[in-house]
Amino acid sequence: MRKERPKLLFEISRPGRRAVRLPENEVPETEIPAGLRRKKLTLPELSELDVVRYFTRLSQLNFSIDTNFYPLGSCTMKYNPKLNEATSSLEGFSGHHPLTPMKFSQGSLELIYRLQAQLSEISGFAQASLQPAAGAQGELTGVLMIRAYHTHRGDTKRRKMLIPDSAHGTNPATVTMAGYEVVEIPSDTEGNVDLQALKAACDDTVAGLMITNPNTLGLFERRIEEVTKAVHDCGGLVYGDGANMNAILGILRPGDVGIDVMHFNLHKTFSTPHGGGGPGAGPVATNEKLVEFLPGPIVEESADGFRFHMPKHTIGRMKAFHGSFGMLVRAFTYILSNGGSGLRELSEIAVLNANYLKHKVSEVFPAKYNRTCMHEFVSVGKLSDRVHTMDVAKRLLDYGMHAPTVYFPLIVKEALMIEPTESESVETLDEFAAVLLKVAKEAEETPELLEQAPHEMPLRRLDEVYAAKNLVLRAQDLAEVEL
């Protein structure tokens, strides 16, 4: 990896340099009123080559799926097919204005309509809305729908949302945004929801349960039907967090086991690129109970072609326009490329790869729960009093491997969460296992090597506390702090 400390734009900017040639104005000028006019604008001034070189060099400081093994648990860092980029870049899509009259938007509308149907089919639901922009927004959508459902029935005393202690942090944060209280449900010794504790918590003040299945330990909830039944019996609804859908495509339809509404992470399961942290897309699908509460607009077919419509009791819009459309084109392309049989094969191999890797590292990093895992597994990364999970993670970077997810889920101390995905070959898995075992050996023989890692990256270990204390959030503030 390139060893350098790249300058910032303002440090390489020189007055008068230009990177773009723009047209003449062509029309008579109109005066801008003096009181409204901006006085000064300071932006970098670079030549076109400067711009290209600067951002190309920046890119080379990243690990990415295209360049490195990236077993980041819970994030499904699978291969992002280039065909998806080609289709979403077709000018008919990329240059399509969102307010073009529907009559002149039939291609995009048909794509939305077909993707709604595909996602519903894959998950066993009646209808999908492609509005939500990300997984977290999909969660908010689902919980607001559950809230609207109860309110619509005049059932207003339900204020609690049950959440297993293994859940993503977005679940409780979402519940707060939706005006509900969180009730945490413990896990049992097998890593599943503690059914007794769940049943004890179920009463007529419960709005519902948010459940991730397979859960964040990479384990399937064996008694999922009993779990959903317990919630339904007390009048609650069940939200399915679709973060781990990559394990069950064509294996199980969440709608078949009592989930009422769920979101998909198109950027995980359906291969749209993560983009360094977004954009994603978090469509939501649901059964008949909640169809009329979906956010809109959704697309329906009519005699005049495809058109938008708002569900009768919709919770509203989640964002302007029609969802993260560019991501929808990519996911649609991916589903067509794989077909029904291909999707099942993806999940099968994702699960096979995870179990194989779990087996290969089991001597030093045994899985916390000794069961067949789904698409990922959770081990403990702490190797001694001196060497912690974070040290293992940083040392892996030196070997050109992105670290697994660390310190999550919270119920496993010093967690190391590994998700290889179906994209990776057995050779890559073997190599990663060998590196992990080598790092464990280093931890024994030369622990300082891990404590001080990384050594081979462009920078040594970065000080997060310093950043939070000094809060330099823009180049303009650099002068105040010596950096």
Partner: protein, 478 residues
């Protein structure tokens, strides 16, 4: 399958290694009767067939590349320099994830830091986060943040009628569970979602008067139960509003001023920070991001430094490594959901990193002179178009100060303006679209009472020739 590496032989070897007879056995935990459902989806498409299928859909759209388009209203057809898609498309950027491991993510982190720096300059705020989903969710989160700044005590948000109707609808979705009322001028209570939809989107829909007067009325109406006043400048109708003195009226009452803006206009017009705004949001799509039928876009979000701990959304900050070299990390994570869980400022757990990168590349490529040139062209050409259309029989442009229906004062507009049409705008659009011209937005789409009005956007992508063609086409329809 091309997206899976392991062959049948590999799979057999792996199964032997783990001591399992078949792949199916790995799924024994799943309820047997429901296991392996047959999915009603077609067989896999080849890469060629897939491309052909998508091409056949794409050509069904009348895209900006196929038409002469004057559509704006929250998404605008701006020029995107070649370097933007070329650089942002690099796999090292596009296929990385959230920079959890900072040492392996300096490309993403430094580009976010550059984005924060340039947007901070543009909007005039001390702190800018790594972005939200789009302009509408930025604005909704700004309203929520305002309520949270008051520790949930203030239960009213006053919204200008110049805010994009879809943004207002998103705010209503986000705030529905917080028991906060969204009110416009002359509104005594928040409409229910159903009533809102029946009203065609915006209950304050008839508002078309002097935007400065409306903002002053909102500032006056704000009281000790008001969390913030939300205004848009340029507003949905393209008008740039003089906000001098508004923040000063709100401050003594403890009410925040939230301004939604459009980034390119800020190359020539005063930034919201200079008016004392407390939170600034905006749609970043004009900064090098494809129209793409409405997303993915870029939610700009900035605030004052003393409010940073109340701000939702990711932040990149500068720091040092163990050898003292400068580097970047995600910072102030203690506000966020993965640490604070149910006490977090928001549930947002990503940003639009790749879109923020596009904006950073765009602003770098444009530089101060380039961005100013784009803004000036938008301003001059939209005024040229407005004046020509205003001369046509049956058409008028109220913002030019035309004496239609009484005393309409002249307004300043940036790149969009409202045109009153002699026939329903919808009919005009349908007829012109057949000739390959999309003349603008039918305001009746959002405001039932405004069916004879078009909202026209003119950018640097519309040459004088295109504007003249529009004028001619409208004249034929009068």
């Amino acid at each position: 399958m091309a997206y899976i590496a392991n062959s049948d032989q590999d799979r057999a070897k792996m199964l032997t290694a783990i001591g399992v007879g078949s792949i199916q056995e790995l799924f024994d935990d799943i309820p047997k009767s429901l296991r392996f459902p047959e999915l009603g989806l077609p067989a896999p498409y080849s890469e060629l067939d897939c491309m052909a299928e998508l091409e056949s859909l794409a050509v069904e759209n009348l895209s900006t590349g196929a038409a002469i388009s004057f559509l704006g209203a929250g998404a605008w057809n701006h020029f995107i320099p070649s370097v933007v898609p070329f650089l942002a498309g690099r796999g090292e950027f596009a296929t990385a994830y959230t920079p959890y491991q900072a040492e392996a993510s300096q490309g993403t982190l430094q580009s976010v830091f550059e984005y924060q720096s340039m947007i901070s300059e543009l909007i005039g705020m001390e702190v800018v986060n790594a972005s939200h989903y789009d302009g509408s969710t930025s604005l909704a989160e700004a309203a929520m943040m305002s309520v949270n700044v008051s520790r949930g005590k203030r239960k009213k948000v006053l919204v200008s009628g110049g805010v994009h109707p879809e943004y207002r609808r998103v705010m209503q979705t986000y705030l529905q569970a917080m028991e906060v009322e969204l009110l416009g001028i002359n509104e005594s209570s928040s409409p229910s979602p159903e009533a809102f939809l029946e009203a065609g989107g915006n209950p304050a829909s008839t508002y078309a008067g002097d935007p400065r007067a409306e903002v002053e009325a909102l500032a006056k109406a704000a009281d000790e139960n008001t969390a913030c006043v939300v205004v848009s400048s340029p507003d949905f109708f393209g008008r740039v509003i003089d906000l001098d003195g508004i923040a000063e009226q709100l401050k003594p009452k403890g009410v925040l001023l939230v301004v939604n803006t459009e980034p390119i206009s800020l190359a020539v017009f005063r930034d919201p920070g200079s008016y004392g705004a407390d939170i600034v949001t905006g749609e970043g799509q004009p900064l090098g991001i494809d129209l793409s039928y409405g997303g993915p876009y870029l939610g700009i979000f900035g605030t004052r430094k003393d409010l940073v701990r109340k701000m939702p959304g990711r932040l990149a900050g500068a720091t040092v490594d163990t050898e003292g070299s400068r580097g970047f990390v995600l910072t102030l994570n203690t506000r966020e959901q993965h640490i604070r869980r149910d006490k977090a400022t928001s549930n947002i757990c990503t940003n639009q990193a790749l879109m923020a990168l596009r904006a950073a590349i765009y602003l770098t490529a444009m530089g101060p002179e380039g961005l100013k040139r784009v803004a000036e062209i938008c301003y001059h050409r939209s005024h040229y178009a407005a004046e020509r259309i205003n001369e046509l029989p049956g058409y008028s442009v109220p913002d030019l100060g035309a004496p239609v229906g009484g005393a309409q004062p002249q307004s300043v507009f940036f790149k969009e303006f409202v045109v009153r049409t002699p026939r329903p705008a919808k009919d005009l659009i349908n007829e012109l679209a057949e000739e390959g011209i999309i003349p603008g937005l039918d305001l009746g789409r959002y405001f039932p009472g405004r069916r004879n009005e078009l909202l026209i956007a003119v950018t640097e992508m519309n040459s004088r020739l295109e504007i003249d063609a529009l004028v001619e086409a409208l004249e034929e329809q009068s």
